[in-house]
């Protein structure tokens, strides 16, 4: 049984809608709709491993700054974003914190840390 997936390529402003036809074991049967070969590459990668950088804020305590901005140090699977947010929402941080400090290590067992993207002072 084959199935179809549509991926919008973000490589250039064209935004080609690339149609993937896959086997029941998710093997590539056909790729169409891309106007360049980078698009095909992107579509296959995006299908098999759709990752996103999660950026968010963390509540603070004992600081005049109400929030600390954070990010995942590397992109993680996009299906984990909401769960990742729940973990971040349960976290509170206190100063002093420096940019790049690890706030939540190994988020959801991905091997990726959530790190501070700015300092936090009192």
């Amino acid at each position: 049984m084959t199935r179809e997936e549509t991926i919008i390529c973000v490589g250039c402003p064209l935004g080609c809608e690339i149609k993937l036809i896959l086997s029941d074991r998710d093997e590539e049967i056909d790729v169409s709709g891309n106007k360049c070969k980078e698009g095909k590459q992107y579509a296959l990668e995006e299908f098999s491993n759709p990752v996103r950088t999660l950026t968010a804020t963390v509540l603070t305590k004992d600081s005049s700054q109400p929030l600390l901005p954070v990010r995942t140090s590397k992109p993680i699977l996009k299906t984990l974003l909401r769960q990742g947010m729940s973990i971040i929402a349960e976290t509170t941080v206190k100063p002093p914190i420096k940019m790049d400090d690890v706030i939540v290590p190994n988020l959801l067992d991905t091997g990726v840390d959530v790190i501070a993207t700015s300092d936090l002072r009192s």
């Binding site: 804020t57 509540l59 109400p66 929030l67 947010m85 729940s86 929402a89």
Partner: protein, 492 residues
């Protein structure tokens, strides 16, 4: 509040109620003003187009109208009043544009009426002048070239009606009147000697009631079955244009067909539709609609062609409350109720701002007629200390002010150059909401419409009032700006 006893209760803190309160404060009277909103001048007053006029240009003005007499009596009182209260006032004059010979009829009527009224009712007013096309265009090069002449009324002036109202309320309070906001009258029962007034915050017992409730004058009168008049709310679409257009015209420019475009006291341009285009509305429905908006803009462009939709920074629908179509559009209702003793209706009609000082004096006379005893207040101070307006100070004055209070060095509203010092002062004087700050010292009235200053004004309000930021409202009640704290929605 729960229980309050007072001699005179003034219902409504618009320009009418506030003027009456201030007038009463000249005497030793136990008077209370209640306003249902959380700040003053937020009803019809807010939508006044800032003009002081004596009505010669207004179609339906008649010498026999009560309203006309109040306007004429009020005109000479306004400038000294503004000076006492430290409110800006500027006499700019108006130009009624005449497009063609047929269009001459109205201006001819205007001038005839004015000369009739001049000796009898308007002795201090300067006469109207007929201006030819050349002179008109030399005075106002940016108006429509499709004119054959105009009528110049040198008496027309502009001010800031909401600031005036707030100043009147403050001065009244300063002189001993009990001024309360966020108090809405929900029911009145009449006793033999006293009224029992039910509010959302307790009961007020009083001997006299002055019904100055603007849009709600009928509603209040109905509570005592004194509503033997009907008031018609008419939608008046108005718009504020960017300050960069401010220099386009120097006078107020009008025509009976196309309404008015005028400079405001703050340097913006303001336009409003003519009474001919106004439509009957429903009380409290201030919603705008596209058709009205498009018509209004088109009409304004007939007067000043360089106005474009891009320059509109804000627009709204105000109300003009007319007495009834048969008697006359402007007839006001300032009278002792025929049905209920010691109950005085004070709906001052249109134009209202310039009538207010005279209406206030008349209301006091009516109260005396109904039995109010007056004794002069020896401590009456007509002067209200002005809030410094940073953007209008000289360099040296700015330096001195910042040295005295560094908060005047922190500019919060970037569009209008309003400092933290002024905002804190406004809060001390009674502002408790974002709109309250807006109307007292301008943050939120500029071209970014509170985009930048909003978060900062919210912070200052929260700090000065000792409330959490999320409880700061736009205009009181349930108009909170921020509904949730970060992460609160994820807790569910």
């Amino acid at each position: 509040m729960s229980q309050l006893e007072t001699e005179v209760l003034i219902i409504g803190g618009g320009v009418a109620g506030a003027s009456i309160a201030r007038e009463l404060s000249k005497y030793k009277v136990d008077a209370t003003l209640v306003e249902k909103g959380n700040d003053f001048g937020q009803g019809i007053t807010k939508y006044s187009s800032t003009i002081m006029c004596q009505g010669a240009n207004v179609l339906e003005f008649r010498a026999e109208y009560h309203n006309s007499r109040l306007v004429w009596a009020g005109m000479p009182l306004m400038e000294p009043l503004c000076k006492e209260l430290n409110i800006p006032f500027k006499r700019i004059g108006s130009l009624e544009l005449i497009k063609n010979q047929a269009g001459m009829r109205h201006p001819e009527k205007m001038m005839r009426r004015f000369s009739e009224w001049n000796d009898k009712y308007l002795p201090e007013a300067k006469p109207l002048q007929l201006i030819d096309r050349e002179t008109l265009l030399s005075w106002e090069p940016n108006i429509s070239k499709d004119v054959i002449g105009g009528v110049y009324d040198p008496n027309i002036a502009i001010n800031d009606p909401v600031r005036l109202t707030i100043a009147l309320a403050e001065n009244a309070k300063q002189n001993g009147i009990n001024v309360i906001s966020e108090t809405e009258v929900v029911g009145i029962s009449c006793g033999t000697e006293k009224f029992k007034v039910q509010t959302n915050d307790g009961i007020v017992k009083c001997r006299f009631i002055v019904n100055a409730a603007g849009e709600y004058v009928s509603k209040i009168a109905k509570m005592v079955n004194a509503d033997d008049f009907v008031l018609y709310p008419v939608k008046a679409y108005q718009g504020v244009l960017d300050k960069k257009l401010g220099g386009l015209i120097n006078h107020m420019v009008l025509s009976t067909e196309h309404g008015m475009v005028t400079p405001t006291i703050h340097g913006n341009l303001f336009f409003g539709i003519s009474p001919r285009t106004q439509r009957l509305g429903r009380i409290h429905d201030h919603s705008t609609d596209k058709k009205l908006a498009d018509t209004a803009l088109r009409h304004a462009q007939e007067l000043v062609p360089d106005i474009s939709a891009r320059d509109i920074i804000n627009s709204f629908v105000g109300f003009i409350v007319y007495r009834n179509f048969e008697v006359g559009w402007h007839e006001c209702t300032v009278e002792i109720s025929r049905w209920v003793p010691r109950f005085i209706n004070a709906s001052i009609g249109f134009p209202g701002i310039c009538a207010a000082p005279a209406a206030a004096k008349e209301v006091v006379e009516l109260l005396v007629k109904e039995g109010l005893k007056l004794e002069e207040n020896p401590n009456f101070n007509p002067y209200r200390k002005a809030m410094p307006i940073f953007s209008e100070l000289s360099d040296e004055e700015k330096r001195k002010l910042i040295a005295k209070d560094p908060r005047y060095g922190h500019v919060v509203c970037r569009c209008e150059t309003v400092t933290e010092g002024e905002i804190v002062e406004a809060i001390k004087n009674g502002a408790r909401t974002l709109d309250g700050i807006k109307f007292r010292c301008r943050p939120g009235m500029g071209r970014c419409q509170a985009g930048f200053c909003g978060p900062r004004v919210t912070k200052i309000l929260a700090r000065e009032l000792g409330i959490p930021e999320e409880q700061v409202t736009k205009k009181g009640g349930r108009s909170r700006h921020l509904l949730y704290r970060s992460k609160e929605l994820l807790e569910e």
